[in-house]
Amino acid sequence: MKIFPVRGGIHPDYRKELTSEKAIVPMPLPRKLYLPLQQHIGAPAEPVVKSGDMVKKGQLLARAQGAVSASTHAPTSGRIADVAMVTAPHPSGLPQLTIMLEPDGKDEWAELPQPLADPFAASSQEIRERVAAAGIVGLGGATFPSAIKLNLGSQNKLETLLINGAECEPYLTCDDRVMREYAAEVIDGARIMAHALGTAKIVVGIEENKPQAMAAMSQAASAFPNISVVGVPVQYPMGSERHLTQAITGLETPAKKLTAELGVVVHNVGTARAVHHAIRFGRPLLSRVVTVSGGAVTEGKNIDVPLGTMVSDLVAFCGGLKEPPRRIVNGGPMMGQPLPSLEVPVVKGTSGILALTADEVNERDTQPCIRCGSCVTICPCGLVPVEMAAFIRKDNLDGAAKLGVMDCFSCGSCSYVCPSHIPLVHFFNYAKGRLNEAERDKRKLERIKTLAETRTTRLEQQAQAKKAAAAAAAAARKAAAAASENPDNKASV
């Protein structure tokens, strides 16, 4: 299969060898699980349990609400200790409403929905409902509810389901291990998803630095002629939905559009496996594979972690920390976000927990820009980071927006190559946050304006109606008075 070139990108030191040969091990149940109501993009789920309730494994704890949302289920049986605010696994360190579950150690399953006898005879709608009920979100890290993404076939003409096994972030090996160990499950999940989407073709894209995963996936896919497993060049950020699509189809996704408009839908390998579990066994999403790595961790591992496990428990399971880490990162080192502390739970989008040493973080003082143009050369989106950062530094956010800062997806390649260590991607994250905020403020202002105008018109109408009523009443009185006194009196006219 022909692979098309993708512009820009970088070749960081991958350091995947730290954990790539470590088989996935299950995490023993911790003493307490913390399940945030928002582990996905969209509206937070609504809790359906309260403090003191006994729940079984797989039971619904919080129901999806609104158009874009995802449910959360109990990863094991036990008692609901509390529903309270707990620090979110988010760089802000803000708290969010979280369900706390004390496992009872029995790990008893709740009654699960009957598995679909033949998913390929089921309707797309039925599969989507099952996937939504299982609370599955994109496990690559974006955590967009998968059921909605499986509905893209209704609005677009789709040709290809692209299974993303690129895993271009350094350190992370969870997708690699899932493909090596559970290739058949991933392929089955992918086939079910392709059926729901109505795509004929399935392409599995894997970076060429994972030959074992490619071999395992090729073998699992060999029985199905419509599935091709292809190696893509090792080039960060190949795992980005848009760039992987470009490498496979040669088509560039237009700004502010979805890959679906090119007839391609991209799902992560972990998501495909979760769909397999949901459809074949009726099991909701209760755990995910997380890579724990980095120079400060005693022993890096790939772990099948029940959702809601504290990161501190996870690190303790890896033998604790060898040395105080300079930074704890949630996700990969390129796009991952720092964690406020170890006392935050693992959620659906946690692909890795990295404890990085000062050497690995490599913090340097920012130097003046030497206008070398490296950031322009490597920007995979074809943007001009140096110019955008200059505008943002001078608080000209509209100028940066005109240069396309909203099309930046924060891959961090520019910050990585900058010889002056300018925190370019930090500028863009700030600008995107501010521009989104301005957009929200604008919408609110419009709403307030409409409300105020409606009220003014209503008050005017009321006043007018009152006046008219008063005038009518006065006229009636006068007429009545005139009629009773003297019908010929001029005053009555």
Binding site: S92, G433, L445
Partner: protein
């Protein structure tokens, strides 16, 4: 010389007539800047700026008699937009921005007098006589008009909390970069 004087007089008369007609038929009613400034203001007529409503505030801004930081509920965002429109450099770092606020009714203090609901310019209150009132948060823009009229001080102005979805990174340190 007469020719020169005559031609100048003729030119003056013609141009004067043209300008006179133009000023009559092509006149712009009101100050167009006012309308543009009005569009930037919240339009809730809350009167916190000291003017009767947003229209009067826009007129004062257009005349240059009011600072761009005049609108408390609009906050920094509106101040920035106004300063950009008017081309004035406003020192926004000095401007005390309390951030977005909303009104909250403490139910144990509310006597159901409806004064707040009558005062509210965006119909954000739900209530009936002698019933506890409450505020629809999305409709409240924190102008605090209700806060001032409440006879029992049941209304509290609260800061709108930052949610995980709305939080964003701060601007990187202001080192010399370029």
């Amino acid at each position: 010389m007469l020719l020169a004087v005559g031609s100048l007089v003729a030119m003056g008369a013609t141009l004067g007539t043209v300008l006179g007609i133009a000023s009559r038929y092509l006149a712009v009613e009101g100050n167009p800047l006012e309308a543009e400034l009005l569009a930037l203001l919240p339009g809730a007529q809350c009167g916190q700026c000291g003017f009767v409503g947003c229209g009067q505030a826009a007129a004062a801004l257009a005349r240059g008699e009011a600072p761009v930081t005049l609108c408390p509920p609009g906050g920094k965002a509106v101040a920035e937009k106004l300063s950009k429109k008017l081309g004035v450099k406003a020192d926004l770092s000095e401007h005390e921005d309390k951030g977005p606020q909303y009104a909250f009714v403490q139910e144990d203090l509310c006597i159901g007098c409806l004064r707040c609901a009558n005062e509210c310019s965006t119909d954000a209150f739900i209530g009936a006589p002698k019933q506890v009132h409450t505020v629809i948060r999305e409709n409240c823009h924190g102008c605090a008009k209700c806060f001032k009229v409440c006879p029992t001080e049941a209304i509290k102005m609260c800061a709108v909390p930052v949610t995980l979805g709305e939080w964003h990174w701060e601007k990187p340190g202001s080192h010399e970069l370029h």
